[in-house]
Symmetry: C2
Subunit: 208 residues, 2 copies
Amino acid sequence: MRPNPVPDIVIGRLPLYLRALGQMKAEGNTVTSSHELAGRLGISSAQIRKDLSQFGEFGKQGTGYNIAFLREQIQRILGVDRTWDVALIGLGDLGRALAHYGGFLRRGFQICALYDTDPEKIGQSIRDMPIQSMETMAADIRRKNIKIAMLAVPLSAAQEVVDELVGAGVVAILNYAPTSITVPEGVHVQQIDPALHLQHMTYYIKPD
Amino acid sequence: MRPNPVPDIVIGRLPLYLRALGQMKAEGNTVTSSHELAGRLGISSAQIRKDLSQFGEFGKQGTGYNIAFLREQIQRILGVDRTWDVALIGLGDLGRALAHYGGFLRRGFQICALYDTDPEKIGQSIRDMPIQSMETMAADIRRKNIKIAMLAVPLSAAQEVVDELVGAGVVAILNYAPTSITVPEGVHVQQIDPALHLQHMTYYIKPD
DNA sequence: TAGATTGTTAATCGATTAACAATC
DNA sequence: TAGATTGTTAATCGATTAACAATC
């Protein structure tokens, strides 16, 4: 009998815990508690303990959690106790900002290939990485065994590029194009659309 | 007796519906159904009908929803049947990309003020907007009655800037700094942290 | 009319929380 | 020992879905 899968909503909180633990470590602390974490993150301590209990027993009654240890455990659970290669497609303003962002590496990700359709851009380099043609993208991604892609192309190109990425073996896509994309079973998509978040908030602040 | 508030999780889906309706409109369609929307968004048609029913009756049995009409209604519900002024703080690579992004306006938002601490940047202009000093930020935001801010400053500065924004009357913050921030009751925060989304997905793709 | 789709109800499903024994 | 905090259970709370009468 297979164990029940851990709810996706729990998986989604683990990176949040990891981020907070990283900050606590940077602050020089060595132990924390579900209450302290809860306070930082604005959720309940019971939820944190319940979430962690899905994966094992990481704390000590009376004293709480060792920060370094718990951090390592969550990194392992999420699979970021290693560095993942990531392809970045679309080198407009946003794509360039992502390519320059230095924060991915310490969280388990390394942008290692850049692709665009614009002949003006192809051949240019960012951080010593050449921008390559999308013609060669699929073969290149497959050859490098890249499993994760960040998509910063215009809306009109998004689905087409997604299909190509999936065909090339990519199984996780972070989509910055403001549209829902369709992928086969087993391929994971996360979406970032700032306007969506802004519109969520305006609901609550309408009466000027 | 006050009516039950609409669940936040429902509010969070409305911008998604709005985005899909905008695309359908752009494609030249005039009517749609809960089933078609559900197919596009990968959720159930029952959920869409239930969500919409929180706010009124927008469809017709047998025929579905008029796209233009439903779009207007959701815009009104979310408060994006107008254009909101938005302040952007932090003009690094990401801040610049956001300042140049042309997609906000058609979704109800206009970046109308830029702030940074770097003396090199202050005085420069992006899209005809001058980058202003953070010294003058609070007074300026209050004078202009800006209620929404996008925060693209380094982690180390985030909470400090948030406190100043809140003090200046900002009630909605889109936080790009990779940290949880603390705000008083009545102030809304949404967070964008791409590494969080990537780590969420690696859980499922671990066995290389 | 026949076919389609809404809006809504009740049932199901799943997530969160409160509480506490265990124990450091 | 006394105080603190975990891991876990059961209860509560909330969200999703299935089903269908109403009706276009």
